[in-house]
């Protein structure tokens, strides 16, 4: 992106994200149990595991859409409860599985995040963001007229408009058909390459892990059972 990062990451010896004993229970059921890991600035980490093991729950906790039962998260050393939820959510930009775009045009959707904290997204920025996700020229398109793959790329651009320090992607391609899936994957790859943004990607697609990430967190029944390079974790399985 053209503008400089707003937020400075802490000292280089410190992980960007540090998850400590994260546990989440609902109605007496434990969904995540004592999950701990660290993510360093610029890393691409895949959260991998079969359906229902708590991958989305983990991502939602990182974005503070849900409150953990115990444990905490530190961002550049700072407890995330000491950061306002709104700022935290802008810093850790989340892209959900389904686009959930707001009614209106593509540009309206991109302006939403900056507008929410009192900034105006310039038309130049909108063009830059859209060409970054391979949607140049679509700013005035009504979102109801977008294909699934286009909508998901608008979703990505909408999150990028907040200039997040890290991207949290929850199965960003699982609602798409095979062709659209590869296209959106390409877009994600080019975005994280050009912006060198830290990325945590949830997927249950082994091939996607190899294409988009370099490190894997393996979840099983709410527990983190492996954390390492793709070769260490997936090939050992």
């Amino acid at each position: 992106m053209v503008q400089e990062r707003e937020h400075v990451t802490g000292q280089p010896e410190e992980p960007f994200l540090s998850v400590e004993g994260l546990t989440y229970q609902v109605d007496g059921q434990t969904i995540l149990s004592g999950v701990s890991f660290e993510v360093w600035a610029g890393e691409r980490v895949a959260v991998f595991g079969p359906s229902g093991v708590g991958k989305s729950t983990l991502i939602r906790l990182l974005n503070r859409l849900d409150e953990p039962t115990s444990g905490t998260i530190r961002i550049s050393g700072q407890d995330y409860r000491d950061i306002s939820p709104r700022l935290l959510r802008r810093r850790l930009g989340m892209v959900m599985q389904s686009p959930n775009l707001f009614p209106g045009t593509v540009a309206d959707n991109l302006r939403f995040g900056p507008h929410a904290h009192g900034e105006t997204l310039s038309d130049d920025m909108i063009r830059t963001l859209l060409s970054g996700v391979d949607l140049a020229g679509l700013e005035d398109r009504e979102v109801s007229k977008l294909s699934g793959g286009e909508a998901q790329r608008v979703n990505l651009a909408r999150t990028l408009a907040n200039q997040p320090e890290a991207l949290l992607l929850d199965e960003p391609t699982s609602a798409l058909d095979q062709a659209a899936k590869r296209d959106v994957e390409e877009t994600i790859l080019s975005v994280i390459n050009t912006q060198n943004v830290t990325c945590i990607l949830v997927t249950h697609d082994r091939a996607q892990v190899t294409r988009l990430a370099e490190r894997v967190l393996l979840l099983e029944d709410g527990r983190l059972v492996a954390d390492g390079s793709i070769a260490e974790v997936l090939d050992a399985e």
């Binding site: 974005n63 503070r64 859409l65 849900d66 409150e67 409860r81 939820p85 709104r86 700022l87 959510r89 802008r90 930009g93 989340m94 959900m96 389904s98 959930n100 775009l101 707001f102 939403f112 995040g113 929410a116 904290h117 979703n155 909408r158 999150t159 907040n162």
Partner: protein
């Protein structure tokens, strides 16, 4: 015909109600023959209806002989009952009782006192109590409609609401389209009612005044006072309730608490 034989007004009323009851029981007999399965429902409703309204009639005779100030506890009592009835209609909203109580009390309390003070509502128990009851009743219905609509709007837009939050927007901002829709949907029947005033349907207050022999033109103006005040009361009620309600569906950390199929 009846009035030629019965002089006491209460007994006259009883006889008139008796004839109406006979007509209704005929309907019960017909529906029973048609096997509509409504027999028990109708009988219970007819029974409750006549007992309740006659009791209220006797109660009002007692109340009307009291001092004007008795209007205050009577209206407050109506507001309390209306709030309890509201929460029987809406499920899974925390503090719904208090929200309704505050909303209805503010709307009805404000409109009734200002209108009475200005003399738009006559400063007599025979005006304040029946008109007040219409306002409280209207506010209750509108508010229950608003709360129910709000809940269904929120639970069917969880994805967009959370997408908005995830983009760093405030709860007020992400919920705004749904609060707007809930309020306008709740007020719509009221607005339509105002528009159709007098077309086919001569509403209660005017009908009563005409029945008791007052000038129909005055009764027309007065019906507008009543309908207009009900509208204003209901609007104030839902506008206050929605502000309180909105807070209930988010946690302190600005997380959406109300999801489909779940209580909070």
């Amino acid at each position: 015909m009846l009035s030629r034989w019965i002089e006491n007004q209460v007994w006259l009323g009883a006889a008139q109600a008796g004839i109406t009851m006979v007509a209704a029981l005929l309907v019960v007999w017909v529906t029973d023959r048609l096997k509509l399965g409504l027999k028990k429902d109708i009988l219970v409703s007819l029974g409750r209806g006549i007992v309740q309204i006659v009791l209220v009639g006797f109660l009002l005779t007692v109340i009307f002989s009291a001092d004007l100030w008795i209007a205050i506890p009577v209206i407050l009592g109506m507001i309390a009952i209306a709030s309890v009835m509201t929460i029987q209609r809406v499920k899974n909203i925390p503090n719904a009782l208090w929200i309704s109580l505050v909303g209805i009390a503010a709307g009805a309390g404000l409109v009734i006192s200002v209108m009475t003070f200005l003399g738009v509502i006559e400063q007599a128990l025979t005006s304040i109590i029946p008109i007040g009851s219409m306002m409280v009743y209207g506010a209750m219905n509108t508010n229950a409609l608003m709360i129910e609509r709000f809940r269904s709007e929120v639970t069917s837009h969880v994805g967009q609401i959370e997408a908005g939050l995830a983009l760093g927007a405030s709860p007020e901002q992400v919920i705004r389209p749904y609060t707007r829709r809930a309020v306008s949907a709740a007020l719509t029947p009221n607005i339509n009612g105002l528009r159709s005033l007098g077309i086919v349907w001569i509403p209660g207050a005017m009908a009563g005044m005409v029945l008791s022999g007052q000038n129909p033109a005055y009764a027309g103006f007065y019906q507008f006072v009543v309908s207009g005040s009900i509208f204003v009361t209901a609007s104030i009620t839902v506008l206050i309730s929605i502000v309180l309600l909105r807070k209930q569906v988010f946690s302190k950390a600005e997380q959406l608490l109300l999801r489909a199929g779940e209580g909070v």
